[in-house]
Symmetry: C2
Amino acid sequence: MPELRKDPVVGRWVIISTERGKRPSDFVIESEERRGGFCPFCVGNESKTPPEVLAYRQNGTDPNQPGWNVRIVPNKYPALQIEGNLDSHGDGVYDFMNGVGAHEVVIETPDHDKDLVDLDVSHLEDIWWAIRERILDLRQDVRFKYILVFKNHGASAGASLEHSHSQLIATPIVPVQVMEELDGYHQYFAYKERCIFCDIIRQERETGKRIVQENDRFISFEPFAPRFPFETWILPKNHQAGFENSQKEDYLSFAEIAKETLLRIRRALSDPPYNFMIHTTPLNNDEQLDFHWHMEIIPKLTKIAGFEWGSGFYINPTLPEDAARFLREIQV
Amino acid sequence: MPELRKDPVVGRWVIISTERGKRPSDFVIESEERRGGFCPFCVGNESKTPPEVLAYRQNGTDPNQPGWNVRIVPNKYPALQIEGNLDSHGDGVYDFMNGVGAHEVVIETPDHDKDLVDLDVSHLEDIWWAIRERILDLRQDVRFKYILVFKNHGASAGASLEHSHSQLIATPIVPVQVMEELDGYHQYFAYKERCIFCDIIRQERETGKRIVQENDRFISFEPFAPRFPFETWILPKNHQAGFENSQKEDYLSFAEIAKETLLRIRRALSDPPYNFMIHTTPLNNDEQLDFHWHMEIIPKLTKIAGFEWGSGFYINPTLPEDAARFLREIQV
């Protein structure tokens, strides 16, 4: 069972997951071994993953057989495990909790050679719908406080398998990054009685200089204070707290803008490694947890070094206004 | 002039430093070009750096000439600039500040082929003394609130030049990582009337299972909730708020334990890339800012991916108790 441990000074939880297991000698060569060769996510290899929890498949095809378009399976090497209770306990100044949670893999396509942006918009729409379905299912489990949807693209962004996939992890604690955004959101709301994200969108649309693109329901732009060059956010233009509570038409519109924005980034930067993550309202939310969901995309172009680790300041060598202009000019 | 910008949601400041300048095309190939070939930190090349602000040199040698043992120069590509005032201002929901600060490079040895751990203990002691001298000088500048001392070892830890060096950056804002530690420190003190770090040291010495080594004045151990495999902290065993206010004998003792601890990490993990950073009390400190200074060492063995970026949770595949045992067993 993975273990959650809390740093007694800053209160940061970490997941100690030795079942993904590394002995000291394992670190000597950073493994790319799992790339190339056999792929458990390819069509025909369905038996090499844990049984699917959701799949969109052609009529008449059986579970865990070919015929699927999008397939969601539990992660074979989960960071958190679904069984058990939290069993929170202490030892002197230290706090522990069992590593309870869910960790699922969204296999975005049966085709090994296609990236997310190579798929049709309707296929991306299916992916968001499938993720929505999993969130609606997982949020019934009262042990879970948050579900993080994210993607690692490229080995240096942390992808251990190259077949296009994203992931969702349900956690028993609201992650600190999300708490910080929620705290900022509520402080601003208490002062202004307005949503900070709605105010940001209004200001961005007035100046236009950091906008990458807009469609009927969404906007993508470079944030004012980006940690990374070409960091890009996508937000619904109308206030919506939770990703899974959006309207049907929203997912199509989000599929369009996500595909085109990621395509601009791919063309501008020669298919860079990147991560995206969706920040949304925590589960079991009440009015206290109003929020404005969004996707954050971070291409991996710069190295994080001692200054960033030690200070929490990020040094960004690219003006977001320049990055936005460059991305706007890309043909999609 | 670099610009400081504040994220309006989470309040995180970033440094936009375009003078270190990257156009989109610059990111396509991650540059290792500056490695190998000419080295501006080597003896004889003193004219290729900005003029030194401090050097420990043989009697009779002139500034910016050979004959030095440790040499500190302003960074040629500074993240922050020494001239100017903060000129804090806003634009709608956004906040700016001029990127005022100091950014210096500590060239730890004239010998290109020696790493920090290859140097004598007395040489390391000179390095800490030189850093202390620079802090005592820089803290007279009332614009600065904090000085971060850090090192990047190895290209994938962010070192752009391989000649052994560390850096110090004086910032006009207390960095958020330090603020979080200070806040945790003061919350604990308000509740217990004891220093959290002193309590951690007491508990670690009682169990012994995460200790790497001890000498008369310092202890190195794996923290209870490490973000990274083989993350290691070094703390003075007696309560001391600020690095620069330590006793003379402390720097020798710190030199010993830092050298041996880093040597264990090098031998255990085949010279991994790593960062270290010193967390100390902010400048212009009063009693409110009591603290317990320490060094954090983070080997770069795992990749930070979308889950970590999106959640702030770290997944660590190695128990700190296992890492500590492994490091203790290394011969130094």
